[in-house]
């Protein structure tokens, strides 16, 4: 009655739109899935916020009813089914390794091999002939001259040559 008094005093337009909407049940925004607590399979979250299966089938609902009674009445299969309703993967399934490393390593080797193909292309199409100073004759003469000069005698090339036996040190 008080409300109708206010009504007549203030006029029809004063009732806010939101109040009208709420009266018809449109006032509340539907909660998006991502805003609700989520299930997660993680080693460090042993009891997730919600059960895995959200909408139970008739069978599962009957099982949930049976769960309310004594648990010793449940068969092993029923206990497993209850577990699977609550959880997605077991810890063993969660922690199981995969064969992903094979694909990764295979891919790595493949692309390294592709790099080699690039080198082949370069040698064939791009590089010119190597300088004559890399021929066998030149290298031998060059090496002898370096040894005669005693280049790097402490730890380098002359240190590796046995001047008495005239051969490389073993």
């Amino acid at each position: 009655m008080l409300a109708s008094r206010v009504f007549s005093l203030v006029g029809r337009r004063s009732i806010s739109t939101s109040l009208c909407l709420r009266a018809h049940g449109h006032g509340v925004v539907k909660a998006e899935d991502y805003t609700l607590p989520a299930y997660v399979d993680r080693r460090d979250v042993p009891l997730p916020e919600v059960a895995f299966v959200r909408d139970l089938s008739a069978q599962q609902q009957a099982l949930k009813e049976k769960e309310k009674a004594s648990w010793s009445a449940l068969s092993v299969d029923e206990k497993v089914e209850l577990y699977r309703i609550k959880f997605n993967e077991t810890y063993a399934e969660m922690n199981k390794g995969t064969n992903e490393w094979k694909t990764i390593l295979g891919g790595v080797f493949f692309f390294l091999g592709f790099t080699g193909i690039i080198l082949i292309w370069q040698k064939h199409f791009m590089y010119g002939p190597i300088p004559h100073t890399f021929s066998e004759d030149w290298l031998s003469a060059q090496t002898k001259r370096m040894l005669d000069m005693r280049v790097n005698p402490v730890e380098g090339i002359s240190a590796q040559w046995d001047f008495d036996k005239n051969e490389w040190k073993k």
Binding site: T98, N99, T103, G107, F109, F110
Partner: protein, 66 residues
């Protein structure tokens, strides 16, 4: 009948489809290694690229004075 249904649900849950890695992982690995070794053995030996290896232990010195 109900037991069979239960079993079916369980098996559908437990038996996860083999992934790409399960099916082809070994093949990809071996194929990649084979391709890699083939290409690089060719590059290192047949291609006549000057790698600049040390003469130590490799080159026999020969007379340079004329």
């Amino acid at each position: 009948a109900r037991g069979i249904q239960h079993t079916a649900v369980r098996q559908a849950h437990r038996k996860h489809e083999p992934t790409f890695h399960d099916k082809y992982g070994t093949t990809v690995l071996l194929g990649g290694v084979a391709m890699f070794s083939a290409v690089w053995s060719y590059v290192l030996t047949q291609l006549k690229i000057e790698w600049g290896f040390s003469p130590i232990g490799r080159i026999t010195p020969s007379e340079w004075k004329e």
